[in-house]
């Protein structure tokens, strides 16, 4: 099956002047699943979600800024009665509409309506085989519903993607998952690490430890190779990496393709259902809200809001910890902002790095995180974690870096050298 990938990957030109090439839009926080890793704690709709007219105006503004692709998410996007109106508006404006879904109630009727409205790509979230997926999604039978939805969307000619989170229970299930996806005929499989946000911060046993990357990434690379043979593009998400021995293979299609840093506010935009604008849909609302579409134009927020501009001004001087002196510091700039800010209340030091884990292992060291502060219980919130560097052989603690106070970005982390 021919893919429609050509216009979806970022090009070198996309980095030269920031514009929202890809927008990810939470059109409602209402959800029919109860996922215990949900960063936005989706359940009921927000009390002040944008109206249809306001949403259509957002579509017009996105197109005017040069946006190429708009992915509708939730909550669960199809729980908004006007979701196909928005799909059609995105397509009519010349942008590629996509939907990311848990698919519990993505019935054939809904699929048919979405296809008729112009939906050509759909991503279904699957986080394990049936038992594991259902436990994480909080609803028995949700795995079977997700698989059925993929098969239905296939019949309607959509390009299929699966999004999977790498959590603490999934590693042994990934090969069987790939076999299932090969049978179905998906086009892409996007992988990302579960991040300590929202309910995942509550259920922190789901989080993999930084040192476990040394076990996880070789498995992912084997899967990448097998997927490639079967025509499936296994795509590492922005918190997978960085610059380890598989970077040249799984991130791009030439020897010049490699991770280029967090792209929040550079070529990615996030929209919350109440009109809050962020540089990336996953980022915490506070302190990454650049304003609300009800108060300012999208162009003004994109161009002028400091909360969206952190990647345009970030330098290696903003990095700290082991990232500060890294060989790749000026390219990587500590990777995914979302992943690190939700751990430490401050980005710029990322223990979820393959290269870093390998270098630490050469020194007989490894890193793990420990939760020290609970998240308050709001959508897109986070708690606090300490980063412990310890010896592999006897577990003796070498360093401990504390989390920043909540919702601050100033100051430096406390560094306690114990040995």
């Amino acid at each position: 099956m021919a893919t429609i990938d050509s216009g979806r990957r970022l090009t070198e030109d996309d980095w030269t002047s920031p514009f929202p090439a890809h927008a990810v839009w939470e059109i409602t926080l209402a959800c029919d699943l109860e996922c215990n890793h949900c960063g936005s704690r989706a359940a009921r709709r927000r009390p002040d979600e944008l109206s249809t007219a306001e949403c259509l105006d957002v579509v017009t503004q996105l197109a005017a800024l040069g946006c190429r692709e708009v992915t509708l998410i939730g909550g669960e996007a199809y729980l908004r009665k006007d979701w196909t109106t928005l799909i059609r508006a995105v397509a009519d404006a010349g942008m590629l509409p996509g939907v990311q879904t848990g698919a519990r109630n993505l019935t054939e009727k809904r699929v048919a309506e979405a296809a008729e409205a112009g939906l050509r790509v759909i991503g279904v979230s699957i986080d394990g085989l049936a038992e594991t997926h259902d436990a994480i999604r909080g609803v028995p039978g949700s795995f079977d519903k997700a698989i059925t939805a993929l098969e239905t969307c296939k019949r309607y000619g959509m390009e299929l993607s699966v999004n999977t989170q790498i959590h603490s229970s999934i590693l042994g299930e990934l090969p069987a998952m790939l076999d299932r996806f090969i049978e179905i005929g998906i086009a892409t499989w996007q992988i990302q690490l579960t991040v300590a946000m929202g309910r995942a911060a509550d259920n922190d046993a789901l989080l993999v430890q930084p040192y476990e990357l040394l076990e996880i990434y070789p498995v992912l690379f084997e899967l990448w190779e097998k997927a490639k043979v079967h025509g499936i593009d296994l795509i590492p998400g922005n918190n997978i990496g960085y610059f380890g021995p598989y970077e040249h293979a799984w991130r791009g299609r030439s020897e010049f393709s490699h991770f280029k840093g967090c792209n929040a506010g550079l070529n990615t935009l996030g929209i919350e259902a109440d009109g809050t604008i962020k540089g990336c849909p996953s980022l915490p609302t506070t302190p990454f809200s650049g304003g609300n579409i009800r108060d300012l134009s999208l162009e003004d927020i994109w161009n002028d809001a400091d909360a969206l501009a952190f990647n345009r001004t970030r330098t290696t001087a903003d990095l700290w910890g082991r990232c500060q002196g890294c060989y790749y510091a000026d390219v990587c700039r500590a990777g995914c902002t979302w992943t690190t800010h939700t751990l430490f209340g401050r980005s710029g030091n990322n223990p979820y790095c393959h290269y870093r884990a390998l270098k630490l292992a050469e020194e007989g060291l490894r890193e793990r995180i420990v939760k020290v502060r609970a998240a308050p219980g709001q959508p897109f919130d986070y708690g606090g974690f300490e980063l412990i560097e310890e010896r592999i052989d006897d577990g003796a603690e070498v360093k401990r870096i504390a989390a920043e106070p909540r919702h601050t970005q100033v100051g430096h982390p406390r560094l306690v050298v114990l040995a």
């Binding site: 980095w15 002047s17 025509g231 293979a249 030439s254 020897e255 840093g261 809001a305 501009a309 790749y328």
Partner: protein
Amino acid sequence: MTNRAKGRVPPQLALCHACKSFVKPEEVACPHCGEDIAMAAVRNADRMEQLDQAMKELRGLLEGLGVSTSASGGPTGA
């Protein structure tokens, strides 16, 4: 000046074909494995040419047997 004007073109790294690690373009010797980067690139190009030739020969043999050779996939080494 608005923030929009502040584009950030990420540095482009090169690949050491000896250890498959990315390196800064000005490097002569790979800081990760110590190999001469230019020589490793030449060796890799030779290897890829040999692989390409072998694939052509294999494809010819298979097509001679009436086997379709249009499947996707191929060598993963860059």
